[in-house]
């Protein structure tokens, strides 16, 4: 692929040098540090009386426990991740048109798709480096604060969490790239991205709830209908990548979680062995969520690719 590596290198360098990236990096790092710090405080007071078996996954709690006013690190990522993705992608292509650089770049002996592939891959790389390095800093901080080293399984679980988080942020980035191809103005594509983000973060659960109420009314005599409504509501909210990320993260980082549904019939709980799930079992539980996130990302990229290849070079 002539040119792919050149575009990749250039975009990577651009990303790391950009002020946007530095701001986002600082924002997530600071949010993460304060979340980890308060989580550690809570863990230190709570662990001695913990009842979750002989091996409580204390280290994972650093990333998932929210104490006091502050949400956990994973919820910070759920909330701020889209912003990171959008900020990296919203002017990826229309910015090149606006600067008049695209026709110049494409007049060199490279394939046209090298430009979009290089841009996409460089951004995925940047997201991965950003999230991994922040997580390492937080892990180090947590280690000092609680003094309990992570077990091998906890490290593996964190690794899977990072993969999910990278895909999640990459989804928002590829959505932003798609908007940067569909809209000629960078401001328009940024606003479109923010609109989707706000919709998915704040309104999706409300809409899912009301739609489910309309579709599956609850019959007071029949408790099954309550569960059916909850299931319908969850199915609808899973259209949002935010839900997928939250569900996947919740299961992967919490070995004691064994179901995604908030409601479990008592008949189903009979015979359940108390204890925690193995990593493989947790993965199995959220496999659809992970595949869903990857698919959404790939769909956005595929549409972007097709549109970009057909687009006229002249603005």
């Amino acid at each position: 692929m002539p040119g792919l590596l050149a575009v990749f290198r250039k975009e990577m360098a651009d990303n790391f040098a950009s002020k946007r990236f530095l701001i986002m990096f600082a924002l997530i790092l600071l949010a993460g540090m304060s979340a980890t710090y308060t989580a550690a405080q809570a863990i230190r007071t709570a662990v001695p009386t913990s009842s979750s078996g002989s091996t409580p996954f204390v280290f994972l709690l650093l990333f998932t426990v929210s104490a006091g006013m502050l949400p956990s690190f994973t919820s910070f990522v759920s909330f701020l991740g889209p912003l990171v993705g959008l900020s990296m992608g919203f002017d990826a292509i229309n910015g090149e048109y606006a600067r008049g650089t695209l026709s110049r770049i494409l007049s060199h002996p490279i394939f046209r798709d090298s430009v979009i592939n290089g841009k996409f891959l460089a951004r995925v790389g940047t997201i991965a480096i950003m999230l991994v390095s922040i997580s390492l800093v937080l892990a180090g901080l947590g280690l000092r604060l609680i003094g309990v080293p992570p077990s091998a399984e906890e490290i593996l679980r964190l690794l899977f969490y990072l993969i999910i988080a990278v895909v999640y942020v990459a989804f928002w980035m590829s959505l932003a790239i798609l908007f940067s191809i569909l809209f000629r103005q960078a401001a328009t594509s940024a606003l479109a991205g923010i609109a989707v983000w706000i919709f998915c973060t704040f309104f999706m659960s409300m809409i899912a709830g009301t739609t489910a109420q309309a579709l599956v009314p609850v019959d007071q005599q029949n408790p099954q209908t309550v569960i059916a409504q909850v299931d319908a509501s969850m199915a609808i909210s899973r259209l949002s990548p935010v839900t997928l990320y939250q569900e996947a993260t919740g299961i992967i980082l919490d070995p004691s979680a064994r179901t995604l549904s908030p409601l479990v019939m008592q008949s189903e709980q009979i015979g359940m062995v108390p204890g925690s799930l193995k990593l493989g079992q947790s993965l199995l539980l959220v496999w659809p969520q992970m595949v869903g996130l990857v698919t959404m990302t790939m769909i956005c990229f595929a549409i972007s690719y097709a549109r970009f290849m057909r687009q006229e070079i002249r603005a």
């Binding site: 002539p2 650089t101 110049r104």
Partner: protein, 314 residues
Amino acid sequence: MDERAQMAIETVDLTKRYGELTAVNKLNLSIAEGEIFGLLGPNGAGKTTAILMLLGLTEPTSGKARVRGHDSTREPLAVKRIVGYLPDNVGFYEDLTAVENMLYTADLNAIPKKEALKRIHDLLGRVGLADVADKEVGKYSRGMRQRLGIADVLVKQPKIVILDEPTLGIDPDGVKQMLEIIVQLSHDDKITVLLSSHLLHQVQQICNRVGIFVEGRMVAEGSIEMLGLQILGGDPIVVEAEVSGADDALIGALKKVPGVSEVDSLDGTLILHCFKDVRGEIAKCIVGTGKSLSSLRLRGHVLEEIYLRYFQEA
């Protein structure tokens, strides 16, 4: 090498349609190695579209374009390896320096960094930007950007350069520098140059041949002298007379003046095509009919006359 390969650029019935609009209509163009060819036409005539098709950046609706024997549609990479293209309104990454921008270009052309740096500093010196080489391009003036554009095009050491409106929007001094650089490219580096412009007198100075391109069609092509002869029908002299209240009677009278072959009226200005300089007789004739003559002059730019003709027809 077959005969086709002898031509630097050749197009056969090259056509591009956007829905109803025909941007380029059956363009037949051949440019020999080492030539400076000027593609002349008003804005929106389809010059840029034609150029993009030559580079394989836009697919033609029908017809063929060949650059040194390579088909632009089928082998765009082979074409883009030997052709340097300076787009109109060339853009750079504003927060990178000139050298950084050009290093990216070199990287896209797979030129090793060491070699690239050597070429870049040479070229920046050549276009007179050596002392601002490490300044961000965002701080460059329009003329400097154009010169940087030329340097950028030359990094890959092309055999052919295509310049789209290279002198647009820069001051007269910048234009002069730009034209000098282009002539140098042709003379010293033996590079074939295709440049498009709507500014005739600039092109006239440096082109070996020009093609006049109006509404997607090439209406005339050849050296400027040849075009003059061909189009002005052997009437080498054009006289412009400003007369207040010119009417048909006056035009009729002027046509009878010996030496005058044709009289056109254009916004109160009379344009007379003559075999020889008969301004004295013309003046006498106009004054004789009682009209007041405010100016009478010989037209210098033959090309402009040619150009105007086609604009009127189009």
